[in-house]
Structures are given as structure tokens and as C-alpha cells.
Symmetry: D2
Subunit: 417 residues, 4 copies
């Protein structure tokens, strides 16, 4: 650890929460250099839906390297990019009758959001974006303006403008009444507010505390956006790619977003990739190369990401995800019931235990770490324990992880009484 | 190509300039699926200093995968990250007596710049940044405000604030006089300008047209920054990592930047990585996790990047780079001399032929493509042909590439008369 | 009128609504050059609380001129300024136990608001201001950012930042629930909102449609401001100086604003003056001359404004104002009852008839003009007829004006059925 | 003075520099309540070109009051407004073949500038304004962004955006070279600068230190503006209305500004008035009432301002102004020659002695005050003594004032050696 303390920036965060050095990882387990094995309920903050070192992907990547595949291509055309695009169209878009263009950009979620914001502003000729409380959309200046958390915002060093924050469904002033207030404000020519270029929303606020928006609220939001001539941007970066039990978190809701931002899980293996799905009529507003990025064409991510899409060729993984999600939800609900103010919530295999107390939840996460389980606090002041294991986690790892968590909650909550 | 036309965003750029589908790549050659081989004088916009599919790196990556290495780790500590950090400190920093902290962020150059801007604003408590004409620093809103090119700026859709642009050394109003004007303005309490948080500069503006700043101008800029209590940020993203014949483009200049932004070449293999070198006294201003990013810990990049550092354990590659750079420079100078207004410039193995006419330079690039050479126009209106082959390019590929270029220039220039 | 059409800017507004040339004015009547007399229920948009050419003020001004009084003094001390300050302290502040500093600035309401915003930002070190829907605070860039009306905002030509608009009490999403939403947002560190420097509010939105805030809402707003460490700025520019039946519109409400903006009526005669009342602990943050203005020291306004203060040495005028206000209110309520959707509201001698239809209200105002009564539409799309006659209006003028209005409403509303 | 200390804001400035209470004023003299008489070389910061209590204006105002003239009219048409407009057209515009619309706004210079900026942005659809170092254009947020002085800018409390400052002719980096730098930057699509909506400039920077722009520089600036499709706004607020020996400071220069801002001297008597002269093709972009203001129609100012225009019906006053200006200039040049680093400059009856030392110049101003002369320091750190007596000053007052100044300079400069 000395090397890190001596040479790495003080900004390092997770390495403080998990003070060990990891040497290898396989499916839902990480092993540190001392040989201690950890069950991973964190999965790279939602990246590793298909586990660490997924064997199909490993083989595909090795084959790709050995064949001198094009690892880096900017936005030149390559055979592996074509395979990815083609598979995505066939497996994901066509079965849903979704007609979208795929835009690749610098391979980070924040870059996807920045590109979406640019396009929404271009299409509408408007500047303002509406984002929601607890929303997390990235760290670069454009997306950071949409991110709600003060800790991140304070690092900007300049005013974060051109974004208005409204209460998320679950907040005071939120719900359908909150959207009615927004609608009335935009319809009032003397409200001081002008119709926005876009609304950007996560259907489930993952970093924000696993707050799950209802279908009715999301539909009302979409209607508001359409009535105002504003775009609806769904940031699926953490909860897309199968996490909720279907490819998109909003499948079957009747939603028809203008732009869908994807990253994290889309490259499959943990290698970077980001992609926006953009309605063709909006996409037509782009001029060639207006939003570039050196690392756009990532061969490894196309290869592994193409493998990942095979999991969506049938319903097996998604059915299992729903089943296990229900089981985890039951366990968390039962656990929460034992403590005042503690609640459980989630959807599919993103589940959460809201401890309502940051110190306690951090103590629980630390206790889990000591006992061999990686979980991450999220939400305001880190009050919420988020569970996002790989969808491919073996049953016994899942069970063992849940037991470690249950015991850790008991240990900490009893000590705190 | 149909798949791309049907499904990929209209924003695609390089795939229009190079209308083929690449299937494989090795060192300085890319091969399309029709079997046509291209000599690569573009090298992934400066990423592939050590060639496509560098054999040392290939093997290291395969070994890493087969050993279930940790491919994705956010900013948790891993053994391969430690190896990279340690090698960078030993090979690059210590021999130069440079004392910097290494900060990893979302693996794109723009993300490195955004982090640098945040820190400079935090450290100084000031908002304004000075950037230079033709500067290119990225596409996300904070770095885009530093990027000078109108085409990119127009895509923002909101005013780009908190950045002042000054003429680069080679522009009208630039030079040492330009810096004297800036100094006088900052010393005048009634100039309307306030001392900035930082100056951000590329020692060689790669995208901006291969404009090479002189040592005296860079030293004057550094003195100005220090006198104003502003930070000096050097954006080494395209010209660092050995491109100019030494690891840093500013080696031996007496420069002592506060922050150095690295990306592109640092991961070695074309896999994403970005890193800032930050003076410890500035780095101490970061709070843990204030600038996060999902894809910070890229195992493949640490493994390949560590291999890349071996090229700097002795002088062989850098000596060769200088030698070949001089040869390319001679050839371009001789070529330029044959045409009015055409000039040559560059440093090490980033060399350029300034055609002074965008249509001609694009025609030359197209002619090169047809004849099997990849080169990219850069600079204002793409008037400048930039040559950045892999440093590891075989002699015969280099020679063949130069000859293709020389013929293409002749063909186009004669046709245009 | 030709001279105006030929030489005056196309921006002229009232001269289009009242297409005649006025030659003289006395108390509540204006006379045009054709000799036609108009009863004035508009009173210079709230400036002329004491009538046109108030005889006490006329004499005082003539005496002042004849004695070579100092008509213009920037912020130098003059005898007449001292008289004004002293009388204001004795007549207005001391009886209310109000301890405020008087700040004079460029003699426009917008300038008073700009100064208040600067000070609030200085005192708190924060940038954001909260203003309300329908709020009107001025036309210069700082105050315009607080003004809600889109028509005015559209003229800015730049984004209007650093101000957040919230629904006024009477709007959808307003009321005490609206303030609760604001409070929850500010208490949520992940709301995307930061505590503001100040809330700026009109107790009665005069330009905004004569929307009267309740005491309970204003007190809740004040409590919110205090809890957040934000300043409460009350913009009394149109409804202060006795308009509502007491000197301040918020007298006896238990409000304790940090800054009170005054203009319009304070100079008494229609000559420009603006003044902020500032709590001494805030005022101490000003450095000498930080907010200057050439026309700060207006002798005529000090002289006439001092005369105006005599009206507040006893209760006669305020008692009469309340009595007449009640009478006008009764008449408007009865009038409104005759038409669907038409409502009446107001306080003291600012009363309004809300026609709920801009075309109709403008037709009524035009019909009134033709019949010899000046009234001004206000509110969204000008749907509201605002009645703000001089407080000193003779009884018969008041009665005649009300009858003209009643007939005009009848005429227009019947024609529109 | 106690009343002021107790009740007036700490922001008061001139009353600290001139610590007495003025009771009356006539032409170029002010008298305090102790009976001490002061010669006024400050003239209300350039307002009182025709002296305090100009007898023609006094009589006209008294007649106006006694006839119940319309003192306050917003932008309704009045007979006195028509007289003013008509006289301005006949006396000033027509003889110069100038075709401009007159726009009246809130009666402060800052308001005139705000209106000009709005219109320039509207006409061009651009946001950025270019202003110059030492420029002074007002205190409200839009004009303050154009004002260069840091002391005033620091009071804003928010970033001042959408304005770029360039060095004025007399600054390092200024001159024709400075304009050439600007031109090159705007012609370079990769400069980071976009063509501005307007350039705003004072031909003589009065507050900024009496810096006199040359005709050739102003013409080059105008050419630059025209070539870029930007408007040229001349801020004549302090040096217009005859101050330089002709009505406009730029008369006979061949300049053809798009907007001319006037205030200060235009109302003649020290009562507020502001007016923009706007080219009709630009003025046509205004919608009615888009930039309003309560105190737009000031009867007193129209009446006195109309009297002021009589001074321009023949050449007498202007010829005298030039003659006296030359005399003052000679005296100041001779005075300056006695001291190292002290210089003199000016035009017409705005002349200055540049002491190059703020403490000394303030000491001189104080010594003058003690000896019965009012002069104001201006420029950076107040280093420049500005002389702007009424144009109507009696010869003996002018002579006596100059002698007081000469002695004060001697006293202070000798004491400082």
C-alpha cells in the first residue's frame, strides 16, 4: 500500500474503503494479494453484470489479440465494431421495434451524457436542462451541472449553469404534483422559467440511493417533455444492460426516450465503452466529428460487449435475474423490518437497504469488507447499502454474501443501540 | 459499410475519410477486410506510439487475462496498478527529480483536463483559465471551453465561460509581446481582467496544426504564471510519452509545470488510460473521491502501459526517434520548398507539412489513403498534414510512407495549378 | 405625434396605449394639448401617490430653485439631503423601531435592486438569488434576472443566471407547500440546489397582476431565509410609500427584512429617487463608493420627498386610503361578480380587476382612455386592470373614474359575448 | 454631518472626500452651510456643463412647474418631451446629417448602456461585447461587465460574463497593433473567440484617467466592427454634450457609430435624463416596451435640456470651450513639466494632470478642497487629477481655480520629496 500512499493522488477513494491490494478476480469474487477472497456485491459500480473475467469474453478477447485485431480505431470502421453494432441492432433494438442510431464517444458515462446534452441543445435551440435531485450523471462540467450531489458540485470551482434541478419523484415536492408544478411554470410566460432543451432522468437513481421511479411518474415526465418540445434523456448507465431483469430498466413501460445513455455494462468485461442511442431525427442534427474522442473505438469492448449481448438472445439470464432480485428483495425487506427507520427497495438485481444513517451504513460496509463482502454505500451521506452483484453470481456466493450482510447489519445496529 | 450507415450516428468522421473496414493491425500497418494494407502515419491520433498490437504488450495482456487479472477496479488498489505506478515513478519521475502525485480519472484526455481545471480553481480560489488559440483540450464542457476551434465550440449549445483565449506564440499578437500584453493586463487593476487560476498550454499544438512553442516562450509563460500565483498546466496528451524524442515534450527546458495531463500513449496498447501528474502541494487540496469515474482502474492499460515504460529504461528508442524525426523533417522541408506557401515544421516524430489550403491538404490525405497511407489533416480548416507514425515503425514502412506522401503532394499540387 | 413617430425609438410603449400628447397635470388629472382631461388611475405606475403637481411640493421646489439649492450632488452631503434623511428617520423608522441605514444609488428602482443583490451576495458569499414567478424587479441585467416575465427576459440577449425562480404564493406549486419544497431542497445536500444569498419578494406583485401575498406566507418565507442564512429583500418599489394604507405594505406583519428597496413614490413629485434601507450589520460590508451613480443626489427629490413624509406625520391620509381602498374593493368585487371568471383583489389603494383575458382587458383600458380614464393592464398577457390612483384623488374624480371603468367593462364584456 | 454618519450607508464616498454640507450652488461655485465658497472643477462628474442653477434653466423650470407641466410621464407623449426631441433633431442631428432614433430609458447612464447592449445582442444574435481597459460604463450587472475597474467589479458577487476586455489604445498591447490582434483573432476560426455583438468605447476615458483615443485608432476600431458585422457603441456619457468643444467628442472624425449613449449633461440642470441615439435600422429590432423604466419621462430634464440645446444654436460656447481648453492644457503642461513623471493631457474642457501616484493626487485633491477648489482624482488608483469645470465658468473663477491647483500641486509635491 505504501506505493499508493507515496505516489497516488489524495483523491483516491475506494482504496481507502477497501484497504487491500487486489490481485485477481473471477465472476463474483475478488482475491487480494494475501489470498483473501471477497464476494463482490459491488461489481465495479455496475459495470460487471456478467462477472469478472467472464470466460466467454476472456476467450473472445484472447482470440482477438492473437489475430491482431484492431484494438484502437477512433471512429474508423472495423470488423469488430460492425459485429457489435449488428448484434446490438438484432438482439436489442429490432425485437423492441426501437429505431435508434448508435453514437460512440469517449468511453465514459460522463462523455455519453455530455454528448446527449449537446445534441438536445442543438436540436431544440434551447440551453436549459432539467435534472433531478439525487441525480448522478458524471463529473465533467456539462454532466456535473446535472449531477445533484453537493460534494461533487463543490469541486467544479465555477458556477454550474444552464441546468435546473427539480425534486425527484420520491422527494418532498416531487411526485406527480412536482411535475404539475413544472408544467404550470413552463406554461406561465411569467414564471421566469423557459421550456428546457431536455429532461435527464435515471429510472432508478443508483448512486443517488436506489430511488426507483414509478412508471406513472416516468410517463408523466415523458408527456411533459413532449408537450414542451423538450427531449427526454434516460441515463441508463448504471441500471441498463440487464441489471433490472430486462435489457432496459424501462422496458414495457411505454416510454419512448429521445436519447438513451449507456456505458458501464455495455462493454461487458470492464473495458471502457459508452454509447448513446439517439432517435434518427435528432441524430441528423450532428455534423461529422463535432463530438470526438480519442478512445472511441475500443476493440476489446466491442468484442466482449458482443459476447455480452448473447445473454439477451434468450430469456434465461433475465428470468433468473428477476427471480434472484425478488429473493434479495425479500431478504432485505425482512432485514429492514427488524430495525426502526430502516427500509428496503430496488428492482431486479439492484436492491438496497436504506439505513437512514451514514455512519451506520459505512460501519456496515466496513464490517462486510472485514468479513469478505464488498458492498458500497450510496445516497445522501452514504446512508444506503446498495447491492449490485454480478447477474451471473453463483447461488452459493449470493447466499453467503447475503448472510455476511445480514450479520454485519445486526452487529452494527446492536452496537449502535 | 451498410451496417454503419444504417445504424451508426451521423456524427461519424474518420470512417468517412477512410471509407473501408479495418480487420487487423500490426505495428505501423492496418489491413482492411479486403486485404489491402495501409501504412499508418496517424497511429490512433497519437495513441499508438509503440505500434498496433505491440508484441510485448500482447503477451503481457494475454498472460494477465489468463491469470484472471483485475480488469476493472475503479480506484481500488490492484497489483497491476501498483506495478504501473512504481515503474512510472522509477523510470520517468525519479531520473528527472520530478516529485508529482499520479491522479487517475475517467480514461479520456478530456477527463484529465477537467480534473486539472477543477484542481487549479480549487487551489487558487479563482475561476478563469487562460488557454491559447488553436489549443485542443477536449470535448466535455469544461475542457471544451479551453478548446479554441469554433467547429467544436459551436456544438456546446451553451456559452463557454470562465476561460480567456490568448494568441499562441505563432499567432498575430502572440509571441513574447503577447505574453507582455497579458502581464500588463493582469498588473493593471483596471484592465477588466483578473489573474487566472491557470494557464493551460500544449508545447506543440498537435490538433491545432503542429505549432511548436519555443522554449523561451514557454519559460516566459511559466514565469508569468508563477508571478500571478496561477498554475501552469501542460497538456501532454498528444505529444508526451516519447513522441518528441524524450518522454516529456518539454524535457530539458527548465519547465516546472504544476499539473501535467497525460492520456493517449500512456496505456501503450490503445486501451484507455488517463493520468495527471500533480505537484503534491496542489494535490493535497483534493478531498477523497471528488472527481470520480467508473473506468478509472483499467487493468489492460496498466499492464500494457507498464510494458511501454520499458522503452524508456534506456535511450535506444528516443535516440532513434530523434534521428528519424530529423530525417522526416528534412524530407518535408525539401518537399515544402517545391511549392509556394507550403512549409514544414515539427519536433521528433511529430512532423507536419503546412499546405496552407484545406481543400488541397484533404485531397492529399485522400490520395494517400487510396495509395495505402493513412495521414490526418489538422490545424485550421485541416490545412496541415500531420505525420505521427508509431515510433516503432520499420524503416521500410517509413520510407514507403514518405514516398507515397511525396507523390500524393506532387499529384495534388500539380493538378491544382 | 409626428415628431415622436419620426424621431423616437420604436420601443415606445405607453404612448401607443395613450395616443395623445399631454400638456399639463394636476392631482389626479392629466390634460392633453387638445384640452381633453383624463382621470388618472395609473399615477405614473405608482410614482404619484400624492398627485401630479402636489401644491406643497410645487412651492417647496420653487423655493429651492430660487434659493439656488444644490440640485445635483452625487453623494456629497447637502442640507436638503440631510432634511430628507432626518425626516425619514423621524417619521418612518423611529416610530417603528426600525434600525436601518439609508443607501442612495442611481435613481431608478432597478438600481436599488441591483445594489441589494450585490450586497446580499457580498454578505453571504453566495451567488444565487431566489425570486418568484410574476416578480418584477427591473430591466438591468442583474435585476432582470430576477424579473420573471419572458417578454422582458427575452430582450437580455444573454442567459440570465444566478437566479432561481420559485412559484409565488398564488401559483401552482406555490403556497406554503412551495416553501416547504424549497426548504426540503436546501436541506438536501443532494438536491442540486445550494442555499441562496437572498430571497427577493414583492408583498404585492403590482406589475405581476396585483397578486397579494398573505402574512403567513411571507412569515414562512422570512423564516426560511433566516434558517438558511439568506437575506430577505422586500421590493417595496411600487407598493410602499403609503399605497396600501400604511407606509410599508408589510407594516404590522412581524416581518423584519434585511433590505427594503424603495423608489417610485419616495421622491414624491415624480422626480427620480431610489433608496435602500439596509440593516446596519449588512451595510457594514460596503466599501466606500463600490456602487456609485451620477444622479444619486437629487435635490428636487429630496425636497419633494421630504414634503411627502409630512403625510405620514399623522394618520389622516392612511386612514382615508384604507377607507377608499375598501370602497374601491367593494365596487370591483361587485363588478367582477357580474362576469364569469372575472375576479377582484387588492389591498389599500392598489386594487385590481382580473379579466382573465388579455384582449378584453386591453379593450377595456382603451375604452377607458377614450372616455377619459387612464388605467393600465398588468399581469400575464395584461389580463389584469390595475387601479392605483393618487392617494390624494378628490372624491368626485374617484367616483367618476370608477363609473367610467364600470361602463367600459360592461361595454367590452357585452360586445365579447 | 452626524445625521449622515448615523443614518446613511457606509457606501458613501464623495462626502468623505469633501467633508462638508453644501447649501447652495451657482454656476461654478458651491457654498457650504458655513458659508465657505468652493470653485467647482468637478461639475457633478460632468453633469453640469452649463453650471449650477443655470439662470435660463431655472426660469424655464419655474415656469413649467407653475403651469402644472407634466413632471413625470413614463414614455407617454408630452409637449415638453416633444420640444426636447424636436430641438435635439434640429440643433444637433440635422446639421450633422445624422439619422438616429432617440430612445429614452431609466434616467441613468448605466441604463443607457444596458439598453445599448441589449439591442446590439438582439441585432446581431451574438452575446459577446468587447470593452476596453479602464473603460467605465456603469454599475448595473450588464454595464458593470463592461466596466474594467476591479474595485467596482469585485462588488458584483457573481462572475461578469459575455464581455471581453481588450487593451485601450494607450495600454501595453493596445494601439493599432492591439486592434490588429483582435482582427486576426476574429478571422481565425480556431482562436477561441467569436465575433462580438458590439465594441463599446469612450473616445476619452473620463473616469479611466482622461485617456484620449486618437482619431486613427477610433477609425480602425470602427472598421474592425463593420468588417465583423458588430455594432460600434460610443459611450458619450461623460464627454458628450459639448465638453470637448463640439457637441459630440467625435465630431468631424468620420465616425459613424451605431449607438451613442448620452446621459449626465443632457438634462442640463443636473436632473436625470438618459438617451441613446440609435441607427433606425437597429432600432427597428425593438419591440414596444421591451426595456422600460419608471422615470423615463422627466419633465424638468426635458425643459432644462431643451434650454441647454440653445447653447449649440451658434458656435459661441464651443469656440470659448476650445479656447479655454487650450489655455488649461497649456497651464497643465507647464505644471507637469516641473515634476518628473507628471504629465498632462485632455481635449477641450476635460483636462488632466497625471500625477502617477495615487497618494499624491489624493493629497492634492484634499489640499485643493481645503483651499476652496473641488477636483476629483480618477484613473487607476486615482492617480489622475481631472479638470472638468462648467463650460460656463466665469474667467476669474477659472483663473482662481487653476492657481489653487497649481499651488496645491507644488505644496504636495515638495512635501513628498
Amino acid at each position: 500500500m505504501e506505493i499508493f500512499e507515496q505516489w497516488e493522488s489524495e483523491i483516491r477513494g475506494y482504496s481507502r474503503a477497501y484497504p487491500t491490494v487486489f490481485a485477481s478476480a473471477s465472476n463474483a469474487r475478488q482475491t487480494d494479494e494475501a489470498g483473501k477472497s471477497y464476494i463482490d456485491f459491488f461489481a465495479g459500480a455496475g459495470v460487471l453484470n456478467f462477472g469478472h473475467n467472464n470466460p466467454h469474453m476472456k476467450q473472445a478477447i484472447i482470440d482477438f489479440i492473437q489475430a491482431d485485431g484492431v484494438a484502437h480505431s477512433l471512429d474508423m470502421s472495423t470488423t469488430v465494431k460492425r459485429s457489435f453494432i449488428s448484434a446490438f441492432a438484432e438482439t436489442i433494438l429490432k425485437p423492441r421495434n426501437m429505431n435508434y442510431k448508435m453514437q460512440f464517444m469517449g468511453p465514459t458515462g460522463t462523455n455519453a451524457v455530455e454528448a446527449a446534452l449537446k445534441l438536445a441543445r442543438r436540436v431544440t435551440g434551447r440551453e436549459n436542462i432539467v435534472a433531478f435531485s439525487q441525480g448522478f450523471h458524471g463529473m465533467t462540467l456539462g454532466s456535473l451541472a446535472c449531477t445533484a450531489n453537493q460534494y461533487f458540485r463543490n469541486a467544479a470551482g465555477v458556477p454550474l449553469g444552464h441546468v435546473q434541478h427539480a425534486p425527484f419523484e420520491s422527494n418532498v415536492g416531487g411526485g406527480l404534483e412536482g411535475l404539475a408544478t413544472l408544467r404550470a411554470s413552463y406554461e406561465n410566460s411569467s414564471s421566469g422559467l423557459e421550456a428546457p432543451a431536455a429532461f435527464i432522468v435515471e429510472t432508478i437513481q443508483a448512486e443517488g440511493g436506489v430511488n426507483v421511479a414509478s412508471e406513472s411518474w416516468l410517463m408523466a415526465l415523458q408527456n411533459l417533455a413532449k408537450d414542451l418540445g423538450a427531449l427526454l434523456i434516460i441515463d441508463e448507465i448504471q441500471v441498463g444492460c440487464g441489471r433490472t431483469g430486462s435489457y432496459f430498466s424501462f422496458d414495457k413501460m411505454g416510454l419512448d426516450p429521445d436519447i438513451i445513455c449507456l456505458a458501464k455494462g455495455i462493454g461487458g468485461f470492464g473495458t471502457p465503452l459508452a454509447m448513446n442511442l439517439v432517435k434518427p431525427e435528432h441524430d441528423a442534427h450532428w455534423q461529422p466529428g463535432e463530438h470526438t474522442g480519442t478512445f472511441r473505438g475500443q476493440g476489446f469492448s466491442f468484442v466482449a460487449g458482443r459476447e455480452a449481448l448473447r445473454y439477451f438472445e434468450d430469456d434465461a439470464l433475465m428470468a433468473l435475474t428477476l427471480e434472484r432480485g425478488a429473493m434479495i428483495s425479500d431478504r432485505m425487506t425482512a432485514l429492514a423490518a427488524q430495525y426502526p427507520n430502516v427500509t428496503a427497495r430496488g428492482k431486479g438485481m439492484i436492491q438496497a437497504l436504506d439505513i437512514q444513517n451514514g455512519a451506520s451504513s459505512k460501519a456496515i460496509a466496513r464490517e462486510c469488507f472485514d468479513k469478505g463482502l464488498l458492498v458500497g454505500p450510496c445516497g445522501i451521506d452514504g446512508q444506503v447499502i446498495k447491492l449490485i452483484p454480478p447477474l451471473t453470481i453463483p447461488d452459493n456466493d449470493l447466499e453467503e454474501g447475503l448472510q455476511i450482510l445480514e450479520r454485519a447489519v445486526k452487529t452494527v445496529m446492536e452496537a449502535r443501540q
